[in-house]
């Protein structure tokens, strides 16, 4: 029996090597478990899963404690101490994998079988960052081809797109490879699944900052995303990130202003574009941009547009103007009327806010007498 197992194990190694040569290691990680476990099934197999679905899912899965090639390892159960607090009803598979992971972590074994165990541990709980730390150590120790590791982490990210650890691990691998050539395409793929995935955007910004030669393609990418969905706030933020990093001159800013005006004309209720406009004003010198924005807003308003953000912007432009010349009195009256209209008709959910802004303007300009005072019932908080 012993020689049979030995024979079986060496056969396994040979198949593993052939496989590796043909398909590359990363697929092997995924496939090897399935293939060898199917073979392992013919060995002594006992399943005591408490969950029918789990049993069905894992038909071909053999617990580590039943795998002959792990017989030499003594699993270590989780030591939760005497108190039973926030216990988790772990599946048999979970406990089994982590019992062996604990043992491997303690012995420090860095082998192919440990790598395969770690792969299972990650699949069961990718949020366990210690498993990732250990994986990296095994990868370094075995000198695993990092390109295969990159392919592996790509597959894991596709499955767990919103997990922090998976992106952190990718970053480490790409840093070690010092090759970002596939990164923009990869993050674009993930953003194609969810164009507002915060993790993907944050990672993409890291790529662009670390490998700055890639920045030149980014505005095109952002353009496409905004065209697909003008309400994609993440894309607008990325636009600002690109422009802001390019040390823009007034030509660039003016072009951006026109671009944003264009998008607002199409969809004036889009807060993302208005926020971007506010961001461009940070580049204004001597009020030049404010004048352009004021003209644009007045024009829209006079055409009958009553977008909440348009009205907010007009109020802000008045509020920012501290001059006391008589012409300003009309502007203040207008701003107070806008607050009134917002509170009563266009943005009633924020009526307490607009009442406050209205009062703030009254106080600032000492302007107590007007016929657009906002009267509100008592807010719960007041």
């Amino acid at each position: 029996m012993e020689s049979l197992i030995k024979h079986y194990n060496s056969l396994k190694q040979i198949i593993f090597r052939i496989f590796k040569r043909i398909v590359g290691q990363s697929i092997l990680y995924k496939v090897s478990g399935a293939v060898f476990n199917m073979v392992d099934q013919n060995q002594e197999h006992k399943s005591d899963s408490p969950d029918l679905y789990e049993a069905a899912d894992n038909f071909n899965y053999v617990l580590y404690r039943d795998r002959p090639e792990w017989k030499d390892v003594q699993p270590i159960a989780q030591d939760d101490g005497p108190a039973r607090v926030v216990q988790i009803a772990y599946s048999t598979k979970f406990s089994d994998v982590y019992d062996y992971f604990r043992a491997v972590l303690k012995s420090g074994e860095k082998s192919l079988r440990a790598l395969s165990l770690v792969t299972d541990a990650i699949t069961l709980n990718p949020a366990n960052y210690t498993v990732w730390i250990y994986r990296l150590e095994i990868v370094k120790h075995l000198k695993v081809d990092l390109n295969n590791e990159l392919e592996y982490i790509s597959n894991v990210i596709r499955e767990f797109t919103k997990n922090y650890q998976v992106w952190q691990y990718r970053k480490t691998i790409v840093e070690m490879l010092n090759d970002p050539s596939g990164e923009l395409e990869f993050t674009a793929d993930i953003l194609d699944m969810d164009s507002k995935n915060y993790h993907a955007w944050q990672y993409r910004q890291w790529v662009l900052t670390t490998f700055s030669e890639l920045m030149q393609y980014e505005l095109n990418f952002v353009d496409n995303l905004i065209s697909q969905d003008m309400r994609n706030n993440s894309a607008w933020n990325q636009r600002y990130f690109v422009i802001n990093n390019s040390d823009p001159d007034s030509d660039v800013i003016n072009k951006e202003l026109e671009y944003t005006f264009g998008k607002i004309r199409i969809l004036s209720k889009n807060e993302s574009a208005w926020n971007y406009l506010r961001g461009l004003l940070l580049y204004s010198e001597n009020g030049v941009l404010e004048d352009k924005v004021r003209d644009f807003c007045s024009n829209l308003y006079n055409k009958g547009n009553r977008s909440v953000h348009l009205m907010s912007c007009l109020i802000d432009l008045t509020d920012a103007d501290d001059s006391t010349d008589p012409e300003n009195v009309e502007k203040i009256k207008f701003a107070l009327k806008l607050c009134f209209d917002l509170a009563s008709d266009y943005d009633p959910i924020r009526r307490y806010y607009w009442a406050y802004i209205s009062k703030d303007i009254e106080l600032k300009f000492n302007f107590k007498e007007h016929d657009t005072k906002i009267v509100i019932e008592n807010n719960r908080m007041n």
């Binding site: 926030v86 216990q87 972590l105 303690k106 990296l136």
Partner: protein, 360 residues
């Protein structure tokens, strides 16, 4: 039955169940079980339900948390000290050469301290100096903090946790406060709110972390002058959509943002500018009347985090019979007062309550 009635007992039961046993699907929280404990206990405290736990149970909880503490010894250097989030690799505690894998996490340390205070523990067994040195070793040259020492990621979340720990232990002498403030300022975006890292999109969660951090440091007005405060306030009130709050412009509302943005506005003194009634209605519509607990939206099932943060949000807007919370530390005002008492006791002469050399 009025759907908008508040079901105190039902929600207390929900938390008590979470304190005992979680279903197998919760295995993805295996490495951060402490967070579930935190949400359940803070939530119970808001519901004034801690009395429903027996004294033995409370003792069990305190002992379980203290077991997660790593203290300095020959197998654990001081920069790994603090609390772990779970017992997953606790077998490596004091095992030679294992400190790489058995290390604290700053979010877990923050939550552990909050739990202990909430449970009425006086932190006497917290190795204060080791925790503070552990936090200090996580600070990066740019002023931000990492989550944990080995390959930990860094962003505003861990800046907040680090500063909250220093605040609770009443000592920020080990960290570079100015650099931390600089980092927070760099996360301020063109739209007036904060992203998780410099350049990343403004987000309700990271905005809370920034504002709460600055408030704990008493430096809110340094980073946010009147004009910037006004713009941030606009951004925050604009997040209220269809009653509840969204985390970013043009996203769906989610109950947890009633806390992240509610607390932000509360710290800034502007919470009375939101529509509280509609915020309340949104939260209560997402309460589950069979199992108890709150979900993030109508399409989800309740979880401890959204339940706790929904209650925090409701408490902030003055829901009747809920205990008030301290928005900057996210523990109840009751627990905060107890903390102040511990802090006062520890600074009085001959009474060093923060024991610095107990190897628990």
């Amino acid at each position: 039955m009025n759907k908008l009635d508040f079901k105190f007992e039902l929600h207390k039961k929900y938390f008590r169940r979470s304190l005992d046993l979680l279903p197998g699907e919760s295995a993805v929280f295996d490495y951060s079980r402490l967070t579930i404990l935190y949400f359940a206990l803070i939530g119970l405290d808001i519901l004034d339900g801690l009395d429903s736990l027996s004294e033995d149970r409370k003792k069990d909880i305190i002992e379980w948390v203290y077991r997660l503490q790593l203290v300095p010894n020959e197998n654990c250097s001081v920069h790994k000290c603090g609390f772990m989030g779970s017992t997953t690799v606790i077998h490596l505690k004091n095992h030679p050469g294992s400190e790489k894998y058995c290390e604290s996490n700053v979010a877990m340390t923050y939550m552990a301290l909050c739990i202990l205070i909430t449970m009425g523990d006086n932190l006497s067994r917290v190795n204060k100096s080791a925790v503070l040195q552990g936090v200090a070793s996580l600070q990066k040259p740019d002023g931000s903090f990492k989550s944990n020492y080995e390959h930990g990621e860094s962003d505003l979340r861990f800046v907040y946790c680090s500063l909250a720990i220093c605040n609770i232990l009443n000592d920020s002498s080990g960290i570079n406060v100015n650099n931390a403030i600089k980092f927070i300022s760099k996360c301020l975006n063109y739209d007036g709110a904060f992203g998780q890292n410099p350049g990343t999109e403004s987000h309700g969660g990271s905005t809370y972390c920034a504002v709460a951090s600055l408030s704990l440091l008493n430096k809110l007005n340094i980073v946010l002058d009147d004009n910037k405060s006004k713009i941030l306030e606009r951004w925050a009130v604009n997040r209220q959509t269809k009653g509840g709050f969204q985390g970013r412009p043009n996203k769906e509302a989610d109950t947890c943002y009633s806390f992240w943005l509610g607390a932000t506005l509360s710290i800034m003194g502007s919470l009375n500018r939101i529509n509280s009634e509609r915020n309340r209605t949104f939260a209560l519509h997402n309460a589950n009347l069979i199992t108890g607990g709150f979900s993030k939206n109508m399409e989800s099932i309740p979880d401890p985090m959204h339940t706790c943060l929904s209650l925090c949000g409701l408490s902030l807007i003055g829901e009747e019979n809920l205990n008030p919370i301290n928005p900057a530390l996210n523990i109840t005002v009751r627990a905060t007062n107890y903390l102040k008492q511990i802090q006062a006791d520890s600074t009085s002469p001959n009474k060093n309550i923060f024991n610095t050399d107990t190897d628990y």
